[in-house]
Amino acid sequence: MASPEAVGSTDEFIKGLWRENPVFVQVLGMCPVLAVTNSGVNALSMGLATTFVIVLSNTLVSTLRNFIPKEVRIATFILIIATFVTVVDYLIQAISLDIHRALGAFISLIVVNCLILGRAEAFASKNGVGASIMDGLGMGIGFTFALLCLGGVREILGSGTLFGLALFPAGFQPWVVMILPSGGFFTLGVLLLVFNRIKSRQDEKRAVLQEATS
């Protein structure tokens, strides 16, 4: 099963961005996606924190993969992930308390982000270190990208700002609902719809191309 080291790594990286985007395609790790995307900064911080954890845990899991028996696989993986999450938690606290406060419990909850354990299980435990890092990076960045889309939309409509910068002249009426939970659900729902539409367009084009060539 294990693919040769680093071969096809770029592919591992690319796939997470769009084709197997963890949010839009796999619909994984939804809790942080919805909870912390009420502003662009939060979304970016969360995305980066997650990427950090996923890359490091993928690395460690892949290194130790032949050393861990099946029975305690999950427990060990979680242990590793929890460690890196704790590390990230302290790092963020050291960098900025404000960001830490904004992200709230969701930093700790990166542990249970289905995406990370999913990658550890499905990819890192079967592949070499290089490929696993690339996979983690791709997934992490794809995840961050999705968070940013969501956070951007919600912040622009919900507060009239993007990354804290005012986008509208004074007197803009913010759409409070966008920052509220229901706004998160709606926005993600609509983004998925847009994503589906783009994808079905692409698929159609591909089908037409195939028909033409064959």
Binding site: E71, V72, A75, L79
Partner: protein, 288 residues
């Protein structure tokens, strides 16, 4: 100091948990063949049931249990089947490809409606209303239930509203067989090239008023067929596929082309005596 306590604490905790899990594994382990999961992963997940099992998982169980061979899965491709066979160390057991075939040739250009059906445009619904209004009671209603039910896009309605099966796409799942209210589809090995494309149980030339390609039960095919390959039953020819059937003789003198030869390359071929029909538009509905 703080380092030692915490490493020790975690060590102790994990030791405890590991012991617990080990104990639990000893005490509570339930045997399940891990190969089932692997095989299931290799199957196409269509859950179509063409293999004769209720879904991919049960089929995987049967495969691992040696009760079935990978060839039964008609949806997967050759590589997929070979991979499973490899994995389990068994033969592929490839079967002859089976496809769905339609026993009707009465498109709207050759077959007439005797009443105008109004209402839900599905075959099933139409069949509830006086059989659907088609002149031939047995004929295809042309409303495309089979096309809609086929998950594999193997059926398209041609311009005469008659379903056409794409042999490459058909997985022989049998959904169309169940869906057709006129029971016109059946699953046939592709090697059955002699084919009776009619179900009309009436006899005589009068029925040509309803459908120009109906079998009139003239019995020429039965007469021409070598050693009893074709016999007449209920005014229809029946091909006995257990005999050698690679001859086109029976179709040659059929006056309407109700018995045909399905060629690998050229598709459906009628006999020389069959009346040529060049009409492309629909026949008008019969006056009352």
């Amino acid at each position: 100091m703080i380092v030692v306590t915490s490493v020790a604490a975690i060590g102790g905790l994990t030791f405890l948990l590991a012991s617990m899990l080990i104990l639990a594994n000893r005490k509570f382990y339930v045997e399940e063949d891990p190969r089932i999961d692997r095989v299931e992963e290799m199957l196409p997940h269509s859950n179509c049931g063409a293999c004769g099992f209720p879904g991919c998982r049960p089929f995987a169980e049967a495969l691992v249990g040696g009760e079935a061979l990978p060839g039964k899965c008609t949806v997967s491709n050759d590589e997929g089947r070979a991979a499973i066979a490899d994995f389990l160390g068994v033969a592929v057991g490839q079967e002859i490809k089976v496809v769905a075939r339609l026993a009707c040739a009465g498109g709207v250009n050759v077959a007439r409606n005797r009443a105008h059906y109004g209402g839900t445009p599905t075959c099933l619904a139409a069949a509830q209303v006086a059989g659907g209004g088609k002149g031939c009671f047995w004929g295809c209603l042309g409303l495309g239930d089979c096309e809609r039910i086929c998950d594999f896009d193997a059926i398209t309605m041609d311009r005469h509203s008659l379903p056409v099966v794409d042999n490459d796409r058909c997985t022989a799942c049998g959904d169309c067989v169940d869906a057709c209210p006129k029971d016109l589809f059946s699953l046939q090995p592709v090697t059955h090239r002699l084919w009776v494309a009619c179900r009309n149980l009436e006899r005589g030339d009068e029925i040509l008023a309803n459908c120009e390609v109906a079998c009139t039960a003239c019995e020429r095919c039965a007469v021409d067929a070598p050693n009893g390959l074709v016999t007449m039953r209920d005014n229809l020819p029946v091909v006995d596929y257990s005999r050698p059937h690679d001859t086109r003789q029976p179709i040659e003198r059929c006056p309407t082309g109700a018995i045909v030869w399905i060629d690998e390359k050229q598709g459906v071929m009628k006999g020389a005596a069959a009346k040529k029909i060049i009409r492309h538009s629909a026949l008008p509905e019969a006056p009352t």
